[in-house]
């Protein structure tokens, strides 16, 4: 935001980062001070484009590019007139055409193309659809009111909760203070020795602490799930349709080795093959290697393809 300076006093923006830029209907910016100075009489001409302007038309800039701000202002004004909604139209195509019209108007007004004609078109539209505009305006205001009501409710709820928490804290503080005071009083008046009194006090304050902890942890039981379903409500689901299919039968894979069958991996030791193979060293077995593996592989290779021709 600092890269933009006020076009008039230039330096003031960098020196004073809290300074705000104001935009007018012509799309050019001026810092607050300059506005004050130039429009002390209420109206004047823009510094860059020399269009006659009023002081009241200046608004605080929200976007970096003043052109965007200008367009936003124009759009607001146009949409006040062109305020039909999607259910006012018979088909999607017609609605889209209408929206395109609106965009054309906004574009023209923003870029100062054909301003006269556009303004005429707007006035004509306004005259033709006066009642529709009124009705929609009313609807809009109603909707806005509802939204505002909801917001208000939410805010009130938040406030209430905050106050409750505050009160809770106050009460706990009070209880602690009372406890301390009670100890002091007892020490003053009672006949019992001080150690016993101190022990009793400690016990009481520990009890208080646990009570506070419990209160903090106790959650208010809610009646609603987060999806909006009541907790005790049974939701009836549509039963899943059964699909009857043929059950899968496992059949072990049969492979033709074109040779005599090789002995099984597990049988090798029993049949005495492993006596003729180099035994696995300890470092080999660490990785999971067994002598039977090498033997089995040699046997398989020896018999595979023996009879094939």
């Amino acid at each position: 935001m600092d890269d933009q300076g006020c076009p008039r006093c230039k330096t003031t923006k960098y020196r004073n980062p809290s300074l705000k830029l104001m935009v007018n209907v012509c799309g050019h910016t001026l810092c607050e001070n300059c506005v004050e100075m130039l429009f002390v009489r209420g109206s004047g001409n823009c510094v860059q484009c020399d269009t006659p302007l009023r002081k009241s038309n200046f608004r605080v800039q929200l976007f970096e590019d003043p052109a965007v701000d200008k367009e936003v202002e124009i759009r607001k004004k146009v949409l006040k007139i062109y305020n039909k909604r999607d259910f006012d139209f018979p088909s999607l195509r017609v609605y889209n055409d209408y929206l395109e019209q609106v965009e054309d108007i906004v574009f023209n007004l923003t870029n100062n193309i054909d301003v006269e004609n556009t303004k005429l078109r707007m006035e004509q539209y306004q005259k033709e659809n006066r009642d529709v505009i009124q009705r929609n305006k009313a609807k809009l205001t109603r909707e806005q009111e509802e939204l505002e009501e909801l917001l208000l409710l939410e805010q009130q709820g938040n406030e209430q909760r905050r106050l409750d928490v505050l009160q809770e804290e106050q009460r706990q503080l009070q209880a602690k203070r009372k406890n301390k005071q009670a100890l002091l009083d007892e020490l003053e008046q009672s006949q019992l020795p001080a150690t016993i009194l101190l022990a009793k006090h400690k016990a009481r304050s520990a009890q208080l602490e646990t009570e506070i902890e419990q209160q903090k942890q106790s959650v208010k039981p809610t009646s609603l799930f987060s999806t909006g379903i009541q907790q005790n409500q049974t939701v009836s689901l549509v039963p899943i349709p059964r699909i009857e299919e043929v059950l899968y039968q496992y059949r072990p894979l049969k492979m033709d080795t074109y040779g005599p069958p090789a002995p099984d991996l597990g049988q090798l030791g029993r049949l005495g093959y492993l006596n003729h193979v180099r035994a696995a060293l300890p470092q080999d077995t660490a990785g999971g290697y067994t002598t039977a593996m090498a033997c089995h592989r040699a046997m398989q290779d020896a018999f595979s393809g023996l009879f094939s021709l």
Binding site: P260, A298, Q300, D301, A302, S308
Partner: protein, 320 residues
Amino acid sequence: MFHCSSHKSYWIFKDEEELSLLRCEANKKCIKKVLETVKFGVSESMFLKRHEEECLLRHYEKRLLDFCNAFKPAMPKSVVGTAVMYFRRFYLNNSVMEFHPRIIMLTCAYLSCKVDEFNVSSSQFVANLVHESPAGQELVAEQILEYELLLIQQLNFHLVVHNPYRPMEGLLIDLKTRYPTLENPESLRKNVDDFLTQASLTDIGLLFTPSQIALTAILNSASRAGLNMESYITECLGLKQDKETLSKLYDSMRRMKIITKKYELPKPEEVNACKQKLERIHAEFVANSSNKRKRGYEDDGHVSKEPRLTTEELSDDDLI
């Protein structure tokens, strides 16, 4: 496993006629290609005939075997077997005239080291070419890398080769376990190894399965030692009932023995004559061979260096 491998499905042929047919095809294809690209200065007599190609191939196979045996660090037998098989398979579908066997032989060895997980870097590999200068070795390394992809492609990407060494071990274990009649199977080992080495120099690897080759090797060395192992085959391999398979097995073993007996190393004079022809072909149809380069080596300096180096390299006291 072998029974579901590409080796069994694609690289085991029925008989030697099929193999010679394939090789003739490759020869003719290459000749046709050269005749198409080079219009003049070419006569039929310049091309290698089938038997000349055979002679060259046998010579280079032996050279490959010697190279692998002299390799440092020591190459495991399966790597050697794979390399020789690659060489054989490559020249089943391609002609010597198109690709010089010297480079293909080294590429086969290099690829086989990679496939069989015998880790050798390319610089370590070419350091084994003791007769080359370091610059020459680097050149060879580059050539190997160029031809590697071509080799893989011509092998149809079937890179796993089942060698008969593991089946041989398996059969020896089986003999020791189930056939106590044979006293000391370990004594057969040397002869078996020799037989297998001899077999790898022949076309046996393309005609029979590795377990059959191993069995033949064992039976052969047993019969040489005067021991009869027929009962092993009938009893232990469960072929008492199955007469047909038994006879087929004996038949193939007989064929293998004949093939190994028939093998002979080509005479040096023949080899030299063929080599000269080959060099001439490669030198003349330089455009032919440079088209095969995968990377565009356009500079003539590199291309003209190659024949000179090869003639240096082809001295007979090389590598051994």
